[in-house]
Symmetry: C2
Subunit: 126 residues, 2 copies
């Protein structure tokens, strides 16, 4: 695309001044950015991403014993990843006898998903 560079700094300017005015700024507040970044970080591991993928495909709960053989890591590693997802607020678990069942928390990805899908701001005249 060959859009004009409204955001170009001035090529000529007095020495000592910043190269340009701060005309851009993040729309997302710092707290919101940290919240969404923590969600993204939780999804930033292939095993955790696939765990979420499996759990989302099942409205019911999934037994941990089903999840472990899906990956080439030890049980303690899967348990660790599930804990990370739980602490990120993406999943929760329930115990029934010997077994533990995990499920995704509805709308836990809502804010982050809306931001990712947001794309370019059509109201921005740039």
């Amino acid at each position: 695309m060959s859009v004009d560079l409204q955001l170009s700094p001035k090529q000529k300017r007095p020495a000592g001044e910043p190269c340009c005015e701060p005309v851009v700024y993040p729309d997302v507040e710092r707290a919101q950015a940290e919240r969404m970044a923590s969600v993204a970080k939780a999804l930033g591991d292939p095993i955790r991403l696939q765990l979420i993928d499996v759990l989302r495909k099942h409205a019911g709960r999934v037994c941990v014993c089903e999840l472990i053989p899906l990956f080439d890591v030890r049980q303690s590693t899967v348990s660790h990843h599930l804990k990370v997802l739980r602490e990120a607020g993406l999943v929760d678990s329930e115990r029934r006898g010997l077994w533990a069942y995990y499920y995704v928390i509805p709308d836990a990805l809502a804010e982050f998903g809306a931001w990712v899908a947001g794309g370019a701001d059509p109201s921005c005249g740039c």
Copy 2:
């Protein structure tokens, strides 16, 4: 929700057999999971997430000198984060004279965004 647990392991089973059949599996292939996880990892830092947010709000290119004062880190750190985003395939840059301009690569978030927005699979009878 109180959906039945079709995925429960058998409570009675012969010793030595696995607790349950592998009836669940990730829909996303490993390569796709690693691809999307690398995108998520790139977004897993508040500064990088806000960088993407700023760049997406502007269809044109944004001068690096505008991005640096937005954050409380040094220039080299911002440059490092921009490099991470570039290597993740989310942004690209163009040099004009002394200044460098960054812009988001269109549809770079498409696959990941579609997965995040996908939610529960309605075709799954669980």
